[in-house]
């Protein structure tokens, strides 16, 4: 386990380094830098050169990268070129918003999606299964931005209400926070509930066909015990994997929802930073995304080991 962890960690670090370099190079390949953005259709060559030097953009790209990496390793991600706020502060505070959105969505999706999937799996082929599968098809095929837009418009015209425009963290006011999150979470959760229940249903259906389940039923074990000890235990492993995948998927998909509902999350921060060519913020935000994706994957792997004894041997 220890060696395995070390190997995994080593590979992760190499991946992260590679990712930072790619991000660094790619963001600079996008035409028009921060200076062009600040100058617009005005300005002159002298003023441009002066600004470029101010941001250190006149240095060769590898020098810029080494400087940035050195600072980043010391925990300094620099300062936003437009806002002047430390990148770490911006990235962390917006990530907390995204994380809350992601975790609440995950919780809602799990609590609703897993029971639906189990229900559909157990009653395979019955009307309730058809009903749930019908819902899944809708949930899986409706684009998130469309669902969000429809929810926003429907709630607005039915209740003459729309979410407050200013984000409030739950620590400040739980009620306001809930009012802000209810629509974005619902829009994101629809897809994930459907994905979850579809996935769980398949696993339950295939578990039901396993011989050990038939044996357990045949030898007269109570249904409750067959379900909890034999079926659920085996379905849990793929669910944990799936949970991680879904969390990453949610974090990736929030850009649209954050923009639609004007939430100050990581996705929107990244979007505006790219628009203004605020390289330090783009690099810092993407670094965090890479790290989070890696950590989630690592945690899933470790969780496997904990849940499934077979994994421990290999």
């Amino acid at each position: 386990m220890g060696i395995y962890l070390l190997k995994r960690l080593g590979a992760s670090i190499v991946t992260a380094l590679l990712a930072t370099f790619l991000i660094f190079a790619l963001v600079r390949m996008v035409p028009g830098d921060v200076v062009a953005q600040m100058m617009g259709q005005a300005g002159g060559p002298e003023a441009e050169a002066a600004l470029r030097a101010f941001f250190g953009l006149d240095a060769p790209i590898h020098v810029q990268y080494v400087t940035w990496l050195g600072d980043a390793l010391r925990g300094d991600l620099g300062v936003s070129w437009t806002r002047g706020i430390p990148v770490t502060d911006m990235v962390v505070s917006s990530f907390l918003v995204t994380l809350q959105l992601g975790l609440v969505t995950l919780a809602v999706a799990t609590v609703i999606g897993v029971p639906l999937g189990i229900l559909a799996g157990i009653y395979e082929g019955r009307p309730i299964d058809t009903l749930i599968q019908g819902f899944n098809v809708i949930g899986l095929s409706a684009p998130v931005f469309w669902v969000g837009l429809m929810l926003l418009v429907a709630v607005s015209s039915a209740l003459s209400w729309s979410p407050p425009l200013r984000f409030v963290p739950p620590t400040q006011s739980l009620a306001d926070n809930a009012a802000i999150l209810v629509l974005p979470v619902s829009s994101l959760a629809l897809l994930q509930v459907a994905a979850y229940s579809q996935f769980v249903r398949q696993n339950v259906v295939s578990a039901l066909q396993q011989q050990y389940v038939r044996t357990a039923v045949a030898k007269g074990l109570p249904t409750r015990i067959v379900f909890f000890k034999h079926i659920l235990r085996n379905v849990t492993i793929p669910i944990v994997t799936f949970m991680g995948l879904i969390l990453i998927q949610i974090l990736g998909g929030v850009v649209i929802i954050e923009s639609l509902f004007a939430l100050p999350g990581l996705g929107r921060l990244l979007l505006t930073a790219i628009e203004t060519r605020d390289y330090p913020v783009v690099q810092g935000a993407l670094l965090l995304v890479v790290l989070v994706a890696m950590i989630v994957n690592l945690v899933i792997d470790i969780a496997y080991h904990a849940i499934d004894p077979r994994m421990r041997v290999s």
Partner: protein, 533 residues
Amino acid sequence: MHKSIVAAIGRRPRQSIITAFTAAALAGAAASPAWAELYGPVPDAPQMGGTLDVGMLVEPPALDPFHQAADARIRVTVLIYQGLFYEAADGEAKPLLAESYEVSEDGLTYTFQLREGVKFHNGKDMTAEDVAYSYNYIRDPENGSPGAGDFAIIDSVEATGPLTVVMTLSEPNAALPMTLGNKYGAVIPAGYFDDENARTAMNSQSVGTGPFRLAEFNPNQNLTLERFEDYWEEGAPYLDAVNFAFLPNSASMLVALRNGRIDVVNLERPQDVAQVEGIEGLVIERFPSLNQKTVDLGSETPPLDDVRVRQAISLAIDKEEIMQAAIGGYGQVITTIVAGLEDRWGVPASELPFQARDLERARALMEDAGHGDGVDITLTTINGYDWMDPAAVTLKEQLGEIGIDLQIQRVDLGVWIDNFRSRQMGFTFNDWATQPDPNLLFFRHFHKQPEGADFRNWNNEEASELLARGRSESDYDERKDIYAQFQKVLAETVPTIMMFSSDHIVVRDEAVQNYSQHPTGWYYGIARTWLDE
């Protein structure tokens, strides 16, 4: 309580709005407080207090008026920072932080008397030293200001007394007062930029003299301004605070507007305006603007290097049809100057060549140019500019009639700006705005290099000579004549085709009183707004 439905949408004549402005200004002038002409009509008995919630679709990248050219920045910072002059809607520069000025006989030396009793947001008194520092800072290209180009005409700025500033120019420039307006730079305390973090510090603390000061600026959320208690104009402003909410899409903007989370917003897309028409409690108003939606014709590559092709395109375009398709008629077709400047500086369309659509003549010109069998041209449009897509399709059809096969290429703004700045724009849509002065509108864009930027590789001697004369002439009638000649050259040789100016469409809650939209699109009017609650 019964609320009446006031939807003044229809085709509101521009004339009446301008007249309303002027009348209010004149009425104020009778009692003659110096500020009566500033920012919009002064209300009789405004109610004090309250917070105005304004929706903004585009967020200002930063609040530094010295280093950010973004229009979203200028819109809000005009309430925080002030220059020596105010760009009045009628196209005249009115003294703002200056009180009066004198020009020497040769037009090279300007002596400004500054307003007394002006305080900065940090509590210090404004002096001539601060004015000299601010303008010397911006005109030095080493400081990297987008305004450096406009201010290059200034040779020196000196404080000669506590409230007296003398500026000398390298050559006479009638647009100097307008240049000392509020687009770039402002008067800030002397020595402000000595601190290396001063640029971004403007996002957390304001150091201007304007009616509002910065309270908070949260990325991707909001900008709150609060009333500056020591503002030099007695009694103004009337609001306690202004909160700008950044909503990146119009769907949530419209929902917020309907549910009273936003009091006022400027809408640009006709389909958005249609969504709020007839809603009880919301008022829709139109104001003329200084923006222009154009087709630019860069002469750097064939076939646009041939003036006959450019003239043929000018003759083939039906501006009205494009305007209807692009912005649903919420604007005005223009000839060679933006709508807001038409009255003061325009030339009647009948006196300009290549304006009326004439397909036969256009085809003949194409034939002459050797393109009788047709030619391919690529039109560049910019992602995120909603009007460009329908306009491009309409233009493709119109140009198809004279044998031009138009390919439409959409690019990101960054790519477009790069092409533009390197003078490789080719055939492209453009969307830009100006301060209300012909020199500031035309010179930089159309004077040949190196004095101008000449983005379109026009390189026209006659036009450049006229622009140079217009800049140094201070007599209005003479100037008007010079710029009329310039516009004729522009229409004749077609480096650009100005299609239309879109109106500013303001949607506001009934409770919002005395809000007027300045033709630049900047939020000056908020300094005169009050809430009836």
